[in-house]
Symmetry: C2
Subunit: 147 residues, 2 copies
DNA sequence: TTTGCTGCAAATAGTTTGCAGAGAC
DNA sequence: GTCTCTGCAAACTATTTGCAGCAAA
């Protein structure tokens, strides 16, 4: 079973356990969230579902994302300039690398963050609960295209 | 001359050099941005200016922030849930620690970020231009209040 | 059969824009 | 005197909400 299939099952079972109804629209949205290829926006999800569900409403997508967020199974990345993006494949905080030209979002591997949380907690006297780290730049593809 | 007075002068001179007119409203907004105590929101700035400028419009604040952003002298921190916050005192990327209860924003001192940028650049083949790092937690004051 | 979900439309919040008059230079 | 800026109102975008009918359990 693939990584995203596992995520799909986890989310669906968690919803069942909390007595939420399982509708075809809901399943389709969870399907996309559990893959989260490219970290889709609400509009991306809507575009992907319009064919299979011609009556699909944006409100349904918003409501279902809210539901999956409420059980902690999707990470919301808010960007004031280019809208919110979602990651239901890795719903825990992790760094992102964003191409400012093509809007691609990539997950790098970084170790030092947990250490940094402790450093910050000591220095500021905060109880650190979560974090967000984004790097913005230009990806290899876009650099190649433009020289 | 204090730190924020220096910032005020830098921003005003940069605007003069670019042939922007210096109006009282503009100066008052730059004044607040150059201090950026607590990293104010647009509404915070509006509230502070209503007394001195009863006709002050939100549009004027938005336009002036946009102007100061365009010359790179204010850092915008977008939060989808609680609006945008601004830092004209330290307009370059730096980590923030945000209390999720009282919305206080603090600047911690951290070293390891430039090293991390290089690590990310090597691994992802991106040219990294900027970054953003936020830690979310509960500050000492709020912890004390609630036990 | 009950309860929650969907789809539509309207409402809302945050931000931007058009325009006429005022003010900086 | 010229040209940008301000203030008001309207427009706009992203998201949320109310409600009636529908579908999952």
């Amino acid at each position: 079973m693939s990584d995203s299939q596992k995520r799909f099952e986890i989310i669906v079972q968690k919803l069942r356990k909390n007595h939420h109804k399982i509708t075809p629209q809901r399943l389709a949205i969870i399907q996309i969230l559990s893959e989260s290829l490219g970290h889709p926006s609400v509009e991306d999800i809507y575009a992907q579902l319009k064919n299979d569900f011609p009556t699909m409403s944006l409100a349904t997508i918003y409501r279902n994302i809210l539901l999956v967020k409420s059980i902690g199974e999707v990470l919301e990345l808010g960007f004031p300039d280019w809208g919110n993006r979602y990651d239901g494949n890795k719903p825990y905080p992790h760094p992102h690398v964003i191409c400012i030209k093509c809007k691609k979002i990539v997950d790098p591997d970084l170790e030092s963050l947990i250490h940094m949380e402790k450093e910050v907690a000591n220095e500021t006297n905060f109880k650190i609960l979560t974090h967000r780290l984004d790097f913005f730049g230009i990806c290899g593809d876009c650099t190649a295209k433009q020289g």
